[in-house]
Symmetry: C2
Subunit: 332 residues, 2 copies
Amino acid sequence: MQFKQQEGVTLAEVARAAGVGESTVSRVLRNHGSFSGKTKDRVMAAVERLGYVPNRIAGTLASAGSRLVAFVVPSLSNIVFTDVLRGASATLEAHRHQAVFAVTDYDPQKEEALVASMLAWRPTAVMLAGYEHTQGTVKMLRAANCRIVEVLDIDGIALDLAVGFSNHAAGRQSARFLLQRGYRRIGYVGHDLDRDTRAGKRYATFCQTLAQGGAPLRARHIHPGPSSVENGRAGLKLLLGRNPDLDAVYFSNDDMALGGYFHCLSHGITVPGKLAILGYNGLDIGRATPQRLSTLLTPRVTIGQVAAQLVVNDAPPQVVDLGFQLIEGETA
Amino acid sequence: MQFKQQEGVTLAEVARAAGVGESTVSRVLRNHGSFSGKTKDRVMAAVERLGYVPNRIAGTLASAGSRLVAFVVPSLSNIVFTDVLRGASATLEAHRHQAVFAVTDYDPQKEEALVASMLAWRPTAVMLAGYEHTQGTVKMLRAANCRIVEVLDIDGIALDLAVGFSNHAAGRQSARFLLQRGYRRIGYVGHDLDRDTRAGKRYATFCQTLAQGGAPLRARHIHPGPSSVENGRAGLKLLLGRNPDLDAVYFSNDDMALGGYFHCLSHGITVPGKLAILGYNGLDIGRATPQRLSTLLTPRVTIGQVAAQLVVNDAPPQVVDLGFQLIEGETA
DNA sequence: CCGTAAATTGGTAGCGCTGCCAAAATAACT
DNA sequence: AGTTATTTTGGCAGCGCTACCAATTTACGG
């Protein structure tokens, strides 16, 4: 006995089955307004019996908020973004909101298109990575009647809400750390900085700070393609091939840094004696490697949580700096 | 001059501004039905001028499909699920569908609740991990007028569509591989098997196959908490503490295996001479470690792609076995 | 230049639900 | 019992859009 119902039970059918008015059913289901206990039981029984599932599409159209939060992220391969999603997800679920997402591949044009199609769902809020958006994106977002949250970066002017930390400060502190430890022949291995503008910001202040400290960047290698352990390994190999005398290398993130570390392990390069390695992100894995990775821990999950919290509370526009934490591991 | 419009321009306003009927605007915007080039220009101009963004909520209510695909995944920390999302995401976007997701934390009850709230959006399809669902979940799904896709597992009876591979077969092949390489004192380090039922299936056939091969599992350690590199490292340490004579260890996945590998590197345990290590998943990082990790590569991204493809094509119910590939690395 | 086929249009009835308001039922007081 | 508060109800008009159908315009052939 496995009959499929036509298309879905409607609230009107439930009302008829329970012998009450439509608005009564609506009130009971949303637990809003007043109704007697007896009525509630009748309605719930009918709901149960018919297997009624409310239609939020209709509900949203009739009322106000969609309780939908849109995430437009550059990538799902980069743990940074999935961590933010993860942090936000729990909070949103607790407040009966739903998360919708789309992936831009670090392409601002695609971001614009995706924001447009997200806005078509009249979301409560749109979460974006960072500040670099096309004019079209900004215009649409401004015109839309929804909250805007820019996450993971606070070096710029926020449209509405911003939750993250300063990538400029991150680059600066990383440089200071290496200088303070006495490294003077410093190199950099990174991935595509034009697309990952946040990594670009870190790189910029990193270089600047080194120069101010009297030990300007000796060499760098930007590896084509996305950040990955393999690219980090290949990148360091190439860099050292050209500049064997470096005493420290800063990587665009921990994935890249781990690759570099593995290269050293494989080639008998003593870390940090012969070469120091500094990453960025504070991935868990860096705490389990033979030597704990020196890196900068970023509060990715917390950023998601705070962002979601601000949205569900409809907080006033503000910028929240969650900072980061230097982890003095054993590789630098 | 930054005035926010009240609440959003409607199609009716666009029609008025363009001096045409509402249905004409609708046709032009959806590029459906016929209209003259001149009309199209007038409409598009008005759309542009007013900054009109169609309301999909209303559109969906009036027409049929929501073009929403719901993902109900156990976790966002486990790369397995984000990879599936990633694979599906691109295909869905190309077909103008949107992805909505929710996280169950491996809790079937929570899954049921989340499926219910997802169905409220009348999605085109719901994607779930594996076959283990509550009766309530199955009942709702069956009654709902949407496609159901169970991913990452095909060891069971599919509700509708299923895309993945056999975890039983994966466990079996892993055991055969170790036996064939001559290992006889085999151990296992895993994480919570009750929650991650797919890992449980692999473990079951792994043990069974070992026993059939005359070298039953010597010892095992189930580490509390989720799978992670750190837990893998700690897990192996504990296991070896009790069973120092093992010659190979199978891990519940690559994260755990990497942890084990790092433990060996740190303690001078020769791999695979003294101890062989076999993982599962085929993470990229395993190809960049000093020794390439022996593991089973699973087609996670492809699973997402195929699943999405089946949904957008409204394919008939079927089970797609995408298999897996044994990677004979350097650790076993 | 007219009749007929084909291409364009506009009007309008819902889609399923919520918000508002008035009606009905009940409770709380003189 | 007679009123006046208070709590419960039901009816119905939209929310913004699409599907359907009828009306209008344009194209085509003789």
